[in-house]
Symmetry: D2
Subunit: 120 residues, 4 copies
């Protein structure tokens, strides 16, 4: 059978892929970054087993990515940090998207059983 920690990790991945591909490409500027951060978090928190989502768009990175006179960039993983907490069957999974070697990576940070044991 599939274990609860495995299922919890699968659910965590679904949320990450959903958030990224739903919102990648959204026009963003420092003026609109706050509303986008909040909408992304609240939208994905609607999904099952998703306890919390935090999205931080890096205004400096956005300004650097604005490459034309229009004054906005298209959202990519390079412009934001994302943290999520997923819970399934008493297992809590912590995930994070962050830059590594210059590329955004979706990482499985920790898988915690409800007996409090910390497996990562």
């Amino acid at each position: 059978m599939v274990t609860d920690p495995q299922r919890a990790c699968f659910e965590a991945g679904i949320k990450f892929g959903s958030l990224y591909h739903q919102f990648a490409g959204t026009p963003v500027s420092p003026d609109s970054a706050r509303s986008l951060e909040r909408a992304m978090a609240e939208a994905i928190e609607n999904q099952p087993y998703c306890e919390s989502v935090t999205v931080r768009i890096d205004d400096d990175a956005v300004v650097e990515a604005i490459d034309h006179e229009n004054g906005y960039a298209e959202l990519t993983g390079r412009l934001m940090d994302v943290e999520m907490r997923i819970e399934y069957g008493g297992v809590a999974v912590r995930t994070r998207m962050e830059m590594e070697d210059g590329y955004p990576l979706m990482k499985l940070v920790g898988v915690d059983d409800d007996d409090g044991s910390e497996t990562a």
Copy 2:
């Protein structure tokens, strides 16, 4: 040559298609509808010649569209009304997405020259 009113209408269409296909499919519930409305409007207002965008998500329609125990729906044109004002070369274009015969339609409401003449 392409006239300013024609170009203004082309720009108005770009904004509408962008808003719809960027955000269609976003998980939405009455609790997350307000932040999504604001993010959609502010994101598209980043685009050139886009003076104003208003998005209203119909909470009753969302609740009706929630078709599983997960408690959320995926955003579609049936769940929202959108109004936009685009300005290009002194021409103001007003557009609206609304239900007609049971289907969401993107409509060109009016094209106004800056001499104040109302052409629609």
Copy 3:
């Protein structure tokens, strides 16, 4: 530490969420379904650890979902079946999206260790 099976399940979830939210909302008809199936599969197979993706769009469901004179529907999980095989660290994960109780669900079908043990 996070185990290889857990990481493999996380990667599998990422692919599923990516496929769904990248392509949900795409205009589709029986005439365009074959090219969309192939593009979806080949696009997601680009992602790391993704061994194979199969997408089958149900033409009958598409025809039923075409609800206006325009002659097309917007892609949703109700209109397709998806199967994926992800491999990470010698662990193979099989996933499937299928209808259950009238709703599309992303399922973890099996997690196989490379010693051939079948855990689901």
Copy 4:
């Protein structure tokens, strides 16, 4: 009233915005570029008044955009050329997305009345 050429230009813009924001962010490599080109064209050709869509993904640009060991890029306007022909009320509109000053622009190339007069 809104003129047929204005409405035709509005419809042309909708198709462009739809194509761009539906498919921007799709994982792409030279191996998957052909199926994506075809799916994008056939998907948007489903939309009303859309006579023809041609999408050309630049494999060299894709290879240049592949910036990590994963071996794929995310689709953006810099990686493709798009041409569309929209017809509404006897007016044909030709549009193109191409690079200008290093940025992808959606352009209104021509608006032709059915009396054969070429207005651009």
